[in-house]
């Protein structure tokens, strides 16, 4: 029996012969990640484990991005703890201040993750790197501490669901719409303990950033990983970001899957996830007169340059509605600089947007755009759990950058073609 993508990558990193799903195997890891919220707990566990040094100071990334620029004394103390640990251990990839950005946008940009890698991170959206053909998954801080000390971890080999995407992408239909549609169909626990593997002719139309947007939200269906095959699109992306990966990676023709799904995207309208779960997905036109108080463009899902370009295309020559705060957060300093050079930031400013620093900020209800009771927000982020962005009585809707920009202009959730 052949191997699917998850099995192929896991086998490369494990000394044990992989027999199939359910088996628990040890694996060497390529990179270990933690952030300003999760690293402090990892550091505590690391010390309790009696570990004196990390397995490889060049293979650990500590990214301060959640509450940064530090929102209060307590978060500043947490960052200080991470900084001192990074210094003590000689960790090369420590990011804070002007070098830092939202971790899952930053690491691919720096060429730190790529095809065939195993990446474990103390952050559930570590699965983003599946867009580049890495087996990447989120874990808790203590698992991450163990991986920092040992350079290895254990996995239960997951079953895989193969999603074959066919058809023609319509105007304004993005990776975000595809993944929201899929989550709406299989639900938030539809891929629990499993890997999602994407395939089909539409992949040729999805660039690496789009693939990362989709892989990013695999966890929103409960998946352990969301995997794309490695093709010329992946290899091109990696080359321009300082890696020299040479080999494509495809599943075997006789690989086993627990489920085969077909997804025809022809005629699909823009999708919006309504409160309070990412699987409460509707076509944008089904939503009638949902007025919003805030729109957020950013995050590890949709804060990349292609996302900013899409939103700018809609909002150019328009104004943000008077009752709306439109918050734009380029996900990394490099994206920020590029948006500046391309004139995108000027377009947003002239429209009346607020441009903030690269940070997770409001995505997790951290800072820089918290909602009051009764307020509604349309965000390009990935989670709309109750209270995620502020008050327990606020509401978050999830959509693409096109829908976000259109909503900012109209003051209500609206199809981008109506702007």
């Amino acid at each position: 029996m052949g191997k699917n993508l998850a099995e192929k990558i896991l086998q490369r990193h494990s000394p044990e012969i992989l027999r199939g799903p359910g088996q628990i195997i040890p694996c060497r890891v390529s990179l270990v990640l933690a952030n300003d919220i999760t690293a402090p707990l990892s550091i505590d566990s690391f010390r309790k484990m009696g570990a004196k040094k990390v397995f490889d100071p060049g293979k650990i990334a500590l990214v301060c991005d959640h509450f940064t620029p530090n929102k209060d004394i307590a978060s500043a103390e947490q960052v200080k703890k991470v900084r001192l640990f990074a210094r003590e251990m000689g960790i090369t990839h420590y990011y804070e201040g002007g070098t830092s950005g939202v971790e899952h946008a930053l690491l691919p940009e720096l060429g730190l993750v790529g095809p065939g890698d195993i990446v474990v991170g103390a952050d559930s959206h570590t699965c983003t790197y599946g867009g580049l053909g890495a087996f990447a998954t989120g874990m808790g801080s203590t698992d991450i501490a163990a991986a920092m000390a040992l350079g290895e971890t254990w996995f239960k080999v997951p079953e895989s669901i193969k999603v074959r995407i066919t058809g023609e992408l319509g105007p304004y239909i993005t990776a975000k719409d595809l993944i929201l549609n899929l989550i709406g169909r299989i639900k938030v626990d539809g891929a629990l303990y499993k890997a999602l593997e994407f395939s089909g002719p539409v992949l040729d139309r999805l660039d690496a950033e789009a693939r990362m947007t989709m892989a990013n939200m695999a966890i929103e269906a409960g998946a352990k990983a969301g995997l794309f095959p490695v093709d010329v699109i992946t290899l091109d992306y990696c080359r321009t970001h300082g890696r020299n990966d040479l080999n494509t990676l495809q599943p075997d023709h006789d690989a086993a899957y627990c489920l085969l799904m077909d997804m025809d995207v022809s005629g699909m309208p823009p999708q919006v996830a309504c409160p309070h779960l990412p699987d409460n997905v509707k076509a944008v036109d089904e939503l009638k007169e949902i007025r919003v108080d805030q729109v957020v463009l950013g995050s590890c899902t949709n804060g990349r340059i292609s996302d900013l370009r899409q939103a700018a295309q809609i909002i150019r020559e328009h104004k943000v509605d008077k009752g709306v705060r439109f918050i734009v957060l380029p996900a990394t300093p490099k994206i920020y600089a590029q948006a500046l050079e391309e004139g995108l930031l000027e377009i947003f400013m002239r429209a009346g947007a607020i441009i903030g620093p690269p940070t997770c900020g409001p995505c997790l209800g951290g800072h820089m755009g918290i909602l009051a009771g009764g307020e509604k927000c349309l965000a390009t982020t990935n989670r709309n759990f109750k209270g995620r962005m502020g008050s327990l009585d606020s509401e978050v809707y999830l959509g693409s950058p096109y829908v976000a920009a259109a909503t900012a202009v109209a003051g209500r959730i609206i199809h981008p073609e109506r702007i």
Partner: protein, 171 residues
């Protein structure tokens, strides 16, 4: 504190039911993640579900969840907040993957029971024999068996959690 709680693996307490898909933002909202202190986190346990949920909890009570309990972020603060609130056992229809792993690592006892979770009502008096995977509902007289724990994870628990497990390896 967390290492000691699992030695006996035999618990008694009142059930507190919550619904399906209780996410980690509900268990401990992000604004409280500026500390790693279990007692401080415990004070805000489930405040993303209901602001003063914790007020109805006594130490030793047992949390009973629906499907996909603990979905969402990887924050280990979630099992720590539950332990910090004085809850040592969570029974659920099913658990989200990262939460399940974190729970074991932190020494929180997790029992997956599928549809049999319906046989437990809020405030039922429960007895949990974790090693046998047995839940006795003294209010209804019913006994529920949980799904077996993977052997590898049982080994980690037997060593007193992941920290001790790794300590042996690096030591």
């Amino acid at each position: 504190m967390m290492q000691e709680q699992k030695t006996s693996m035999h618990f008694q307490g009142r059930a507190h039911k919550v619904g399906d898909h209780v996410d980690t933002d509900a268990i401990i909202p992000a604004r409280y993640l500026v500390t790693t202190d279990p007692l401080e986190l415990g004070r805000h346990c489930m405040s993303g579900l209901k602001q003063d949920w914790i007020k109805r909890i006594n130490r030793g009570d047992i949390l009973v969840g629906g499907k996909n309990f603990g979905c969402g972020s990887s924050r280990e603060h979630a099992p720590i907040a539950i332990l910090g609130a004085g809850i040592s056992v969570v029974i659920a229809h099913s658990f989200a993957r990262i939460f399940y792993r974190n729970g074991f690592n932190m020494g929180l006892v997790l029992l997956e029971v599928g549809d049999r979770v319906k046989a437990i009502n809020s405030l039922d008096q429960l007895e949990v024999r974790a090693l046998d995977g047995e839940i006795i509902n003294h209010s209804t007289g019913e006994t529920i068996r949980s799904l077996p724990v993977p052997e590898f994870m049982a080994n980690i628990l037997a060593r007193g959690g992941l920290i001790n497990y790794v300590r042996e390896k690096v030591g």
